[in-house]
């Protein structure tokens, strides 16, 4: 592998201005569990993105993965309207809401945006798993319209020796199943790369605080750079954490470009 443009930029602190860079895993706003400097406002997020050259982020507000999806979806829709070239809305669903309210939420944002760009599940925060019946309308909509779903984890019951994620990926071939935090530890990396190998619509999101040495390179070797996406978890986690990891990775610059933004552009139809 020859000299990497991106490694040299990182070493010199030169911003990546001339590439398509899309963060597939962002949040928004404050969070009860810890202090976030800047309070995670859209302005603060865009400024954080500008530090390194991230052009666009797909976001699900903290309040949506917490107590109130309707307020969260409203917040991100407003932010996307204010920053149409920088912020894209995930519509977050808590399956504990009554089914008609879930269907109404999907319908509302389908009409507002002329089609939803992505869905966000956080089954852990919402205290369910991804097989919950309340997610049903999302699976149906996402499969019909080819919309990606990012989930914190793809938990659900195993059946006939297959994981819930494997069964869902087979049942809904038009959905890109994005697995959040896929590169955080070697245990997770080995498990998810094996899972993704058998299903072309499973994708691996980098977001998180863990950066095991060689882990990103392993993910690319095992599943291909076209199945890995840059995610940051901003504003839980600063964009510099995973973006620096990607710049420094021992993979080709073309692979980095796919992970950096080309894959997300294709999947989210941006």
């Amino acid at each position: 592998m020859g000299e990497s443009t991106f490694v040299e930029k990182l070493k010199s602190g030169i911003r990546v201005d001339d590439e398509l860079v899309i963060d597939c895993h962002a949040h928004m706003g404050p969070w009860y569990n810890f202090h976030i400097p800047g309070d995670g406002t859209p302005e603060s997020m865009v400024e954080n993105m500008d530090l390194v050259g991230i052009g666009m982020a797909v976001a699900a507000p903290h309040i949506a993965i917490g107590p109130d999806i309707k307020e969260g979806n409203r917040q991100v829709a407003e932010a996307a309207e204010r920053y149409p070239d920088r912020l894209v809305a995930y519509i977050t669903i808590n399956p504990r809401y009554p089914l008609p309210e879930i269907e109404a939420e999907i319908s509302l944002y389908h009409d507002l945006f002329g089609g939803i760009k992505g869905f966000k599940f956080h089954s852990s925060c919402h205290g369910v798993d991804c097989s919950h019946l309340g997610y049903g309308p999302v699976y149906e909509y996402a499969n019909e319209h080819g919309v990606p779903i990012l989930s914190h984890v793809w938990d659900g019951p195993d059946k006939d020796g297959k994981s819930f994620l494997a069964r869902q990926a087979a049942a809904y071939p038009n959905i890109a199943f994005l697995h959040a935090h896929s590169g955080n530890s070697w245990d997770v990396i080995r498990k998810l790369t094996a899972e993704a190998k058998g299903h072309p619509n499973i994708y691996l999101d980098m977001a998180g605080s863990g950066r095991p040495y060689g882990g990103l390179e392993y993910m690319v070797k095992e599943v291909g750079a076209d199945r890995v996406l840059l995610g940051t978890d901003m504003p839980f986690i600063d964009v510099r954490c995973q973006f620096g990891r990607l710049l420094a990775a021992r993979i080709s610059d073309d692979d980095k470009r796919m992970i950096m933004g080309l894959n997300a552009k294709r999947l989210f139809n941006l």
Binding site: R15, S209, P212, Y213, R240, A248
Partner: protein
């Protein structure tokens, strides 16, 4: 290195958190020797490093520290991070002698109270902490080895002991900010404190002097840590301090 290096855009990175030696949970791409570490430093643009040996942390502090000396020798860009123990069992040189030797080598110490079965408290480690404080030897400790109450008590009693906290996660501001405010001898490695705007916020509230660049090589890749010190809103002088100036100052290699 002169203090001029802290001015302008010259940033000389010095890593406070590197290790050599084989270890239990190695993955295929890990390097374990000095040559591997030097190659990685060259690849990512790190000039100097404070290095610990895995034998010292996970086998024998005494023999691991000796092995470290043997391996890094007199290289001008690698500095020793010795593993220290309380004095009661007599496993290492007497504290005053040990601290003087570490200082003479422009080194630091790493503490593992949880894994090495001692308490990070004055009743257990008082003689060691007294000796380290008397020589201003920097002590590095991972949050997994202690807790905030112990850290607060040690900072209070040993005001001359530079204490560098590692392995914190990004959720610590409500714990560490009151300590930063009260104790000037508290420092934070930036590698795992990856909260949004952490460098900028801590620098603005408490000064960039409190932040230390480190990577966690070879278990953690270095690009994420490097991006924090290379891409930020701080002045070039503050960038240079965090990247290496603060650590070199603590080790007695350059003026603050």
């Amino acid at each position: 290195m002169s203090s001029d290096a802290a001015c302008g855009s010259r940033i000389e990175c010095m890593d406070c958190n590197c290790r050599i030696g084989t270890f239990e949970h190695m993955e295929e791409p890990h390097f374990t020797d000095v040559d591997g570490l030097l190659a990685e430093m060259e690849f990512i643009g790190i000039s100097q490093a404070l290095v610990m040996h895995s034998w010292a942390s996970h086998w024998s502090p005494r023999l691991g520290n000796a092995k470290l000396d043997e391996l890094i020798g007199d290289r001008d860009n690698l500095y020793p991070c010795y593993v220290a123990l309380p004095s009661a069992t007599g496993e290492l040189a007497p504290p005053a002698e040990f601290a003087a030797e570490v200082r003479a080598r422009r080194g630091a110490v790493r503490l593992f109270p949880a894994e090495h079965q001692w308490d990070f408290t004055p009743w257990c480690a008082g003689e060691l902490l007294d000796a380290l404080a008397a020589r201003s030897v920097p002590a590095l400790i991972d949050m997994g080895q202690t807790n905030w109450n112990q850290i607060a008590a040690v900072l209070e009693q040993y005001r001359e002991l530079p204490l560098i906290i590692l392995g914190t996660s990004y959720r610590i501001n409500r714990h560490i900010y009151p300590l930063f405010k009260k104790y000037e001898n508290l420092y934070l490695e930036v590698n795992t404190h990856v909260m949004t705007w952490s460098l900028e916020d801590i620098s603005e509230r408490f000064g960039a002097e409190r932040l230390i660049f480190g990577t966690g090589l070879p278990e953690t890749e270095a690009g994420g840590a490097l991006a924090q010190v290379r891409y930020n809103k701080l002045s070039d002088a503050d960038k240079a301090r965090i990247a290496g100036g603060n650590l070199r100052s603590l080790l007695g290699m350059e003026e603050p």
